[in-house]
Symmetry: C2
Subunit: 759 residues, 2 copies
């Protein structure tokens, strides 16, 4: 479906109604504001194929785990982001005919997401079964200025008739998840209320007992004058609405403004939810749609001012990168330490909306480079707050003495994933969480973070590594058995190089951090040491592991080995696979994938990407040349790492090829799965490909370094990036690179190894 | 619950009613006849804890697979043995009080399974809530003489009252499985009929459309005279019954004879089921309970005459081994090539009643040694009939050109198991199926089996091995990556010694078999070669694999290595585990188990057991001494192999210790899981421990060899064993072993390496 959405630098545009692509469009046109998200479901009734999705950040349901054979240590539940009570509905009935695009003739359908202002618009002309034609123009947004608020402007113009019409505006909590293991509904009713002009429903999630109060008010006008129709209130189970009889007059636009407030018990006392919701609704109605939109758009203007990327000479690329930035920005705003970034953000149910290592490994640099420091910091604090749960999780698996294993997938710090080869073995995630602390401090210089939160997390993770290795009498080295690396096309391998490296790096970094905190703030150090009962003997053991860890390598080729026994495989390049074999995960049985040499996503190369300054370029090159040809990139998180390394190695075409694989992943539905939601976390990888790949951005010794190149396909590109107290703009042209200060303090930037003062 | 059942050489005895142990007793007192099986559920109503189980051989339901994350190649269903329409019920109501042992006072409860005659008896005195006391004496059996028949004698004696009573006799197909993935019922109604004295229900399984027609007739008498009560017929959904008003007279025994016929569409045309069922029922009633029982007991007498084991000086051991022989004999009679032996036989739903490699590796030798040749042969033919499905199964995983991978778990030849590490990787099962052909021919001398069925199977399996290995450039050897060996506490390992050995052995044996068939019957050879499109080039490739296969070993210790990297583990004996750690599969997380050295069941040792003549005793000893101390025997299939090897190595105490672990596994509910059903397949292991372990029985060069020893705890023991055209009796005493011919042809037997003529 390449080019289904029209190219435009700031807009995503769909022209013509194609029910077959509707679920894809519902994902792509999703809007959100960090507190809530809404798929682009229609306001009017729709009996066609749709994935209904309203999401409220932090509200989840622990759906009972479904497994083949239970294994000891499996979690009891898989947390699922919930399809929450719907607030967008404006159902229209004219002379017993429902306005329903699945049953009407639809013309002039046009849907536009204006990324600059965060406004979703949709217009169409529908012909009802009896021939009545009406034009609809709908707009909506989830306010970036007011986190709990959504607003809709729904305008109806009868084109060839005048008639009575019935409008049904409601809140409906009788919704279900598509992804429900045992086909249950997850909400029960707590409270409902309907009066003329205002309706509320408070629903409670089963088991987790979150309350969500969703309320609506509305205002109807024609030619600038309020329309007061005959109103009936409607109360059903989990449902509260108004049914309004209005007159539609030929050629005249009737506008419905619907204001919604969605409050959760995460942010309000349960007993105050209704009261607060009513206050907000009143306020919304007084403010009105236009002023709300202005406030919302102003936030977007501010955001874009700090993080836009422009690409000259390639509108598709321009649209692609802005779409990625837009989605990431509306998914996570960094204002709430309890929230994080699900792989699908607020655009679908898949992967349960939970937190994966994607956040630390891929998303963190995006927020570091595009938002205030606290945004990235809060992502770290999220994990700090889960430290106790990570310790309990490790205990469940048999670890002790404060060893912490962060979960593979989580909503509240507890593990939700239930495949042993991932849950128990894909432990490199623990390293990514340690690395993120290092990465954050390197970028921001905020070393106090170690004192306040970081060191405790590092100690917990290091203790895990120290217990997870064992001494091999045979090798006379420490080994790490039974792990799954980032390349999930290998399971339960021994001595995954990446994981072993992560482990020893964490031990060393924790040791340094202990020393740093001790020297910087010995009181704080003592408090931490005492809180976690840390002993010097642990350090000695860590040293011993760092000194004597085993790392598989192929001396002949001069490369690190992904794991023990990798060279026993039949080593083939991906180029020798036939088209019918791809993607492997759909065409091959699992055992065949496991036995093959083919790599799902960067593994050894992920380590070389994270720690590139520790390896010379020739070593990186040898490994890249060995592994990249065997890599199928069947994770959307894979290409970016290869793009960045390729750029570093001067493989400019490869870098661009890798960039292209994710830049328009969802807009062009490359993987045939955008209908499930957008690949939010991999969008950060696309950003990384430009900034760290093409731009060559690095931070070393507290300074920004740039090594830009420009893909042959582009005329020029520019990006804004926030670094500490400055926002700079980097303009890359064929002939030269210009770096200017956009706002904040002057600073020195190393450009192609020349230190330049930017002011 | 050791010693809950009373010790007795021929009987299993329960005295006193203990509802807490009822499900265990239901398993232990199960009866069957190869065509059907019945847990020891009560005839009268019972509102306490129970696992209702009536099973009809070959009738299953493909329950929708339940998995966490779907993997390509997984089967769509898991076949389940069905709890079939119940035929045993005799419900008794006296003045509105149901006779129900959960609500009555129960005295003098006694349940006896007479293994000699296959008769289950139960007697008790119940006091109804209003004080009425009655004595019940119930007997039943599933006829070994008539496969589709069950008969019940249910006698009621009112002890302190005379009164009207209502008897409800029925067939009820409105039953469900406890093990149902989505809590469905699996039967629908096809036909029902109730008239005075006869009721039938034909039910159909969903999806598989098996029909089972269950019918009943009955006869009621008092003091030798027929009692004709007032009869009402009762028809409900999937239910047909008679409700009979009778007079109970104080002190007089009222006897209900209920005859049931259970016919399946596997054995009768669907349209004839009802007719045939009615014919059988009529015949049953004419024959009567006593004569039916006589016929049934005669079959048992014949069976015992060929396969009994006596143990002198240890009643518990005597009872244990007879219980094992009894269960195995009533589970599989070898008359139907479509049937096989589920891990729980007809005693429970667990493991789906499907076929595992248990059959070939453990059960086959039991049937070889205790039953006519055709019984074991039919077990092989069962796999022959599934060859095409095994080829399709291999194709699903990416294999080609007639490679066959037999399923891990199956009902009809299709794979049912859905954990990748087992389904796709525990491929050694394929080797066991090849080995069983060798084992059968070695025991019986029936080399014609190769011509008729065996060779085709061997070629399919060999082709699988030839494709499953790959050439390692690094090792300059063939390797086999990503397998799970018999020790399921390791998953996805490389070069499992046992599997590699099995593979090369199969290739060699298939080559020999090809040569044998060619020389014996070149026409048949040509037909097979042409049918399977066999080419000589394949043989050359097999030779190359056999010559250049890699086998991991520890040269220093002189042992084979279970798999690559085994020596990287921390090698600890089980004796260093604390009690709280055991059993590992309940106390440890899966990842901890996988990383540990601990072994679930014989792996390298399984190979040494199968191929002991290819290794010298010292080699076997070194491996036994290395692996056995690390073995936790958490599979009920583990101890027997160790018992046999220990016996061979002269570790007599160890052999006896291992024997004890399974001999009374179910009678003493060692593993706290007998309530789910009995461990039928591991019972064959117990038999093996005595015959091959203590008795040292082997077949070499077409002759029986014995090397008996007697455990210190016993005075003497004897066993009967069928070998080709002879049944011999081996009597082992402290001082001497006596071998006598029990029936059939005289033969030579090697006893402690001295050839002895037995006549």
């Amino acid at each position: 479906m390449k080019d289904y959405f029209k190219h435009h630098p700031w807009h995503i545009i769909e022209e013509g109604f194609n029910p077959h692509y509707n679920k894809i469009a519902e994902s792509v046109f999703s809007i959100g504001n960090g507190r809530m998200g809404q798929r682009a479901n229609f306001e009017e009734a729709y009996s066609g194929e749709t994935l209904q999705g309203s999401y409220v950040a932090g509200v989840y349901y622990p759906d009972k785990t479904r497994v083949g054979w239970w294994k000891n240590g499996y979690p009891e539940y898989f947390a699922k982001v919930l399809n929450a009570p719907t607030w967008i509905s404006v159902h229209v009935t004219i002379e017993n005919q429902k306005l329903d695009l699945a049953t009407c003739k639809v013309e002039a359908f046009r849907r536009v997401l204006d990324m600059k202002t965060g406004l979703l618009s949709r217009s169409f002309v529908a012909t009802l079964p009896d021939g009545k034609r009406l034009k609809v123009n709908a707009q909506r947004f989830c306010s970036m200025a007011k986190g709990e608020v959504g607003a809709i402007r729904y305008a109806i113009t009868p084109l060839n008739f005048s008639s009575k019409a019935t409008l049904s505006l409601f809140i409906d909590a009788d919704v279900k998840n598509t992804d429900s293991n045992y086909d249950e509904k997850f909400w029960t009713e707590v409270y409902k209320h309907a009066e003329e002009g205002e309706c509320l429903v408070t629903a409670e999630t089963k088991k987790t007992f979150f309350h969500v109060c969703s309320g609506m008010r509305y205002f109807i006008e024609e030619e600038g004058k309020e329309v007061k129709g005959r109103i009936n209130t409607e109360l059903r189970e989990k449902f509260a609405g108004n049914v309004i009889q209005v007159d539609l007059n030929e050629g005249k636009e009737l506008i419905v403004y619907k204001y919604a407030a969605i409050l959760s018990s995460e942010n309000h006392p349960k007993e105050k939810l209704v009261e607060h919701c009513q206050q907000i609704l009143q306020n919304l109605q007084q403010t009105g749609f236009e002023r709300l939109l202005t406030g919302h758009a102003a936030v977007w203007e501010h955001k874009w001012n700090e993080c836009d990327i422009t690409i000259n000479g390639d509108v598709a690329a321009q649209q692609g990168i802005r779409f990625n930035i837009f989605q990431l920005t509306q998914t996570y705003t960094g204002e709430d330490q309890r929230l994080n970034i699900g792989p699908k953000g607020f655009t679908g149910e898949k992967y349960g909306g939970s937190t994966y290592w994607d956040t630390e490994a891929y998303c963190l640099p995006f927020y570091l480079g595009t938002a205030e420091q606290k945004v990235a910091r809060n992502l770290l604090v999220y994990r700090y707050k889960h430290l106790q749960k990570a310790i309990e999780n490790a205990q469940k698996l048999g670890f002790k003495d404060g060893a912490a294993l962060y979960p593979m997938v989580t909503m509240n710090g507890e593990e939700c994933h239930n495949e042993w080869e991932i849950t128990f073995e894909e432990i490199h995630r623990n390293g990514a969480i340690a690395y993120a602390i290092y990465d954050y401090i390197r970028y921001t210089g905020d070393e106090d973070y170690l004192v306040e939160f970081g060191l405790e997390v590092l100690i917990g993770i290091s203790r895990f590594w120290a217990q997870r290795v064992n001494w091999s009498d045979d090798k006379q080295k420490y080994v790490m058995l039974g792990v799954t690396g980032p390349n999930e096309y290998e399971n339960n391998v021994n001595n995954n190089w990446y994981t072993n490296y992560m482990a020893t790096w964490t031990l060393s970094y924790t040791k340094e951090s202990l020393a740093y905190v001790k020297s910087k703030d010995s009181k704080a150090w003592k408090a931490i040491i005492s809180k976690v009962s840390f002993s010097e003997e642990e350090l000695a053991q860590w040293d011993s592991i760092v000194d004597q860890m085993y790392f598989p390598e192929d001396a002949k080729r001069g490369v690190f080995l992904q794991q023990d026994g990798f060279l026993d495989k039949e080593l083939l390049p991906v180029s020798q696979l036939s088209k019918e074999d791809r993607p492997l995960n759909q065409k091959w049985s699992w055992d065949r994938i496991l036995r093959s040499c083919f790599i799902k996503q960067a593994d050894v190369l992920q380590g070389l990407y994270f720690f590139e300054e520790r390896f010379d370029k020739e070593m990186i090159k040898r490994n890249f040349d060995f592994y990249e040809p065997m890599t199928v990139h069947e994770s959307s998180l894979s290409p970016c790492v290869h793009s960045i390394l390729a750029a570093k190695l001067g493989y400019e075409e490869k870098a661009y090829e890798m960039y292209l694989r994710t830049a328009r992943l969802d807009l062009d539905d490359y993987n045939n799965d955008t209908e499930d939601g957008c690949h939010i976390t991999s969008m950060a990888g696309t950003w990384l490909s430009i900034i760290k790949g093409f731009g060559g951005m690095r931070v070393r010794d507290g300074q920004l370094h740039l090594h830009p190149f420009i893909p042959a396909q582009w005329n020029s590109y520019s990006f804004k990036i926030r670094f500490r107290n400055s926002v700079i703009k980097v303009q890359v042209e064929k002939a030269k690179t210009t770096v200017t200060l956009d706002s904040g303090d002057p600073l020195n930037v190393s450009i192609n190894d020349f230190l330049t003062s930017v002011h």
